[in-house]
């Protein structure tokens, strides 16, 4: 699951360039905005997820996070065009405009995706001694997922699919994994 989350985060980030280009162009500024907002959202997600993980973490809640992220990705699918026009018409400066636009469409889904990360660490950590190992293993999985998400999206997926189709696919996988986690939790009880 951590692998998939890593995959989705970077897949969406790569698509960010395409989503922004019609309104803010292909200048270096748009990548500045995209990466800044993703990093900021992940940082806030990590901090909040860490705090939240203290209160009885279980796999059901972890699954709910996936479902929430899956739903929030639809912000991009539904509103990216309308919000792009909205910001373009009001802000001339492409740096300020692209930054605001990224916050509007990427901030919420990415924060929730960041939220899941420390939560996963708390789920698989069984003792203090092995906590470093658990965290290391999770970082490994999620970062490999991110690497593949970047590569596969930019090299192959964009050749065959529309941007929104790829995001729907990402959302679908998160949704399925979220449901699977909740079912697993029921079975355990």
């Amino acid at each position: 699951m951590a692998f998939t989350m890593g995959f989705v985060i970077m897949s969406v980030e790569m698509l960010g360039g395409r989503i922004l280009a019609p309104y803010f162009g292909g200048s270096i500024h748009i990548w500045g905005s995209i990466i800044t907002v993703f990093m900021l959202a992940l940082a806030i997600g990590y901090a909040l997820g860490g705090l939240y993980s203290r209160s009885e973490p279980d796999i059901r809640k972890y699954g709910v996070l996936f479902i929430a992220a899956a739903i929030l990705l639809w912000i991009i699918i539904f509103f990216s065009e309308a919000l792009g026009d909205f910001v373009f018409l009001r802000i001339e400066d492409e740096r300020a405009g692209s930054l605001l636009y990224c916050i509007l469409i990427f901030f919420l889904p990415t924060t929730v995706m960041g939220f899941a990360s420390p939560y996963a660490v708390s789920l698989i950590t069984t003792s203090k001694e092995t906590s470093g190992m658990s965290a290391g293993f999770l970082y490994f999985l999620s970062t490999i997922g991110s690497a593949l998400g970047t590569l596969i999206t930019s090299f192959y997926l964009v050749e065959f699919f529309e941007t929104n189709t790829i995001i729907k696919f990402c959302s679908g996988i998160l949704l399925l994994l979220g449901i699977a986690a909740i079912l697993q939790h029921r079975k355990n009880e």
């Binding site: 395409r18 280009a21 019609p22 162009g25 292909g26 373009f88 001339e92 492409e94 529309e162 941007t163």
Partner: protein, 297 residues
């Protein structure tokens, strides 16, 4: 035959050896080189290798002479509308086209849009590009500039799209949505000339995209496999061989100054371009132009 080849290779080698690098810079987007080769001054975006990757060249002895065929073809857009009063040029390079248009139409209002400030600096410093009230440069992404101009209801009699480097295509300038925005800024007599590649799979997708937005268009190509220039006009009566023929008579002499052979341009026009029409048009949602451009036609 082998001897001839050897001579050609040696000649090319000597050309490379003679070339002198005058300027080199890393800009936000690319490496920029200015190379001098006898009287030829060239702007390059990649390491000067044996094959020619020049974006723009100027003959110092005859600065108005066009060195490249594709710039000649772009200039030949005036054969469709011989009296443009406002011209928008996307992609400045060494400023060859705005300089020539400004020379030919001193009263026309010319705007060049260039994303890279370093390119504009080089054009001014090395290529004698002079900005005036009638010959302006805007440093901006072309998509944004055109979108803003469309909102202001600004119209141009001539739009020149020349933003593709030798190996990279800005994908947001390939889509149906972008071309619709371009169409919005064309005046009722407006002409579009777009310089593009012709030798990859992208060719088919690009043709489908232009067909979807513009319906009918002409293609100008002097040699098979080289650049092709797509020509379109908002006024159907202008995009017509008889009209172009008349303008060849009218402008032929004037165009000689820029080394544009109007007769040759006329002969190089294909009024019924063919392509694989099942190729999917490119959209903002689907625009893998660079991947397609790396594939065989």
């Amino acid at each position: 035959m082998k001897k001839i080849l050897l001579v050609i290779v040696l000649l090319q080698l000597s050309v490379v050896l003679d070339a002198k690098e005058l300027y080199r810079a890393k800009s936000l987007y690319r490496d920029i080189y200015v190379v001098e080769n006898n009287d030829l001054l060239c702007l390059k975006f990649s390491i000067p290798r044996r094959e020619d990757t020049s974006q723009s060249c100027m003959d110092r002895k005859d600065p108005m002479r066009m060195v490249f065929n594709y710039t000649r073809m772009m200039m030949a857009a005036v054969l469709i509308n011989p009296e443009p009063r406002s011209i928008l040029i996307v992609g400045l390079g060494g400023g060859t086209l705005p300089t020539a248009f400004n020379d030919m139409y001193p009263d026309a209002e010319i705007t060049s849009v260039e994303i890279d400030p370093a390119v504009a600096k080089v054009a001014r410093k090395y290529f004698d590009f002079k900005e005036t009230d009638n010959n302006k440069v805007v440093i901006k992404d072309a998509r944004l500039h055109i979108k803003r101009q469309a909102l202001k209801n600004k119209k141009y009699d001539l739009v020149i799209l020349d933003a593709f480097g030798s190996d990279y295509i800005p994908e947001h300038l390939t889509t149906v949505e972008f071309l619709q925005e371009v169409k919005q800024v064309l005046s009722p007599q407006g002409v579009l000339a777009s310089n593009t590649f012709s030798s990859s799979k992208y060719y088919h997708h690009e043709s489908s995209t232009y067909a979807e937005v513009f319906g009918k268009f002409f293609v100008m190509q002097t040699n098979a496999g080289s650049n092709r220039v797509i020509l379109y006009s908002e006024n159907d009566a202008l995009l017509n061989i008889d009209n172009i023929q008349n303008n060849v008579q009218r402008l032929g002499k004037t165009l000689d100054k820029y080394d544009v052979d109007a007769e040759l341009m006329l002969r190089s026009i294909n009024t019924l371009p063919m392509w694989n029409e099942s190729a999917r048009p490119l959209t903002d949602q689907y625009s893998p132009a660079n991947i397609l451009n790396a594939k065989e036609k």
